[in-house]
Subunit: 208 residues, 2 copies
Amino acid sequence: MEAAVAYDNSYDRSQPVTDQVLAQLFTEARTRNAWSDRPVSEDIIRQLYELTKFGPTQANTTPARFVFVTSDAGKERLIPLMAEGNQAKTRQAPVAVIVAYDVNFHDTMHKLFPHAPGAKDWFPEREGRREAALKNSSLQAGYLISAARALGLDVGPMTGIDFAGLKQEFFPEGDVEVNMVINLGYGTDENLFGRSPRLSFEEAARIV
Amino acid sequence: MEAAVAYDNSYDRSQPVTDQVLAQLFTEARTRNAWSDRPVSEDIIRQLYELTKFGPTQANTTPARFVFVTSDAGKERLIPLMAEGNQAKTRQAPVAVIVAYDVNFHDTMHKLFPHAPGAKDWFPEREGRREAALKNSSLQAGYLISAARALGLDVGPMTGIDFAGLKQEFFPEGDVEVNMVINLGYGTDENLFGRSPRLSFEEAARIV
């Protein structure tokens, strides 16, 4: 990925991107429930990770772990562990990524936060680590969804899944919990829901 | 915001954005610890919310609540409730947004998920709601950070804060918990840390 970014230092990053990019990332992006047969290459999957990994997390813990399910064999392990309403669309999607979180992320702190040698000890108890990993892996899921759209992909995030079953099937070792599954590909308008309402600025925010 | 987006339906959103945009959003974006005196207008704050709100959440719950602290009076309420290492930079930042989550988000489901009249009952217990709200508001924080960068802003997210104190000060009513505080503005290179390492694709991900 690094090699692909011909970065121009004279570019002013303190200006908004174009309206077309805002539309692609936010205002016109939609959760998709049906997928074209256009494939998603391994190169795109790796680019997606290389963008997602840079998003900021608490003390650079980056606890998210990802399983990109692309093969028929992988789908046959995944799909029975999803709610019935999520099965057909996941079978159709070229990629379904299981977003999980490593509760023992503190074991990687010597590598991820090397300037603070005691960082591992900031997370002594499992429940505190689990909650930090849930929170920060969700933040990373937000980066992954934004990055996928930046790469031209559509997304379909789902939490109608058998969390315990997916943990056992895909993360039988260690202490890794499942957060969500996100379908990735190039969406079609089939089964596209009307956009649900959002809270107004005044309902969800204030300026003080 | 809608009016500002002169959306061109002929634009192909299934292609990657430019490398310059990927740099602005991901590869060259950095957590900032010092801020120029360039202000952030209320218009930008509102645009930021109008982009963030569209990010997908579980059953469109969108539980995040935001307090954009911009005034000296607001800063004087916020800053004593932050870790000492976060105080000076938060005083300097033009905006510090408190990202919180409404544990009683289910009371808005009739508005947010109108096609499923029973949706409120999917979240009967407080602890289940709290965890769903933590998870989905973190996802929304990921969208907010991506949207801020898309608008040309820099971010500085922080969890070194007095969560209970901030709840009491800024959300004394209802059942709203604090997730993080994010400084927003136009960063300088002062006190910029060297970029910490990230896990390789093979360490954090696999393709099956």
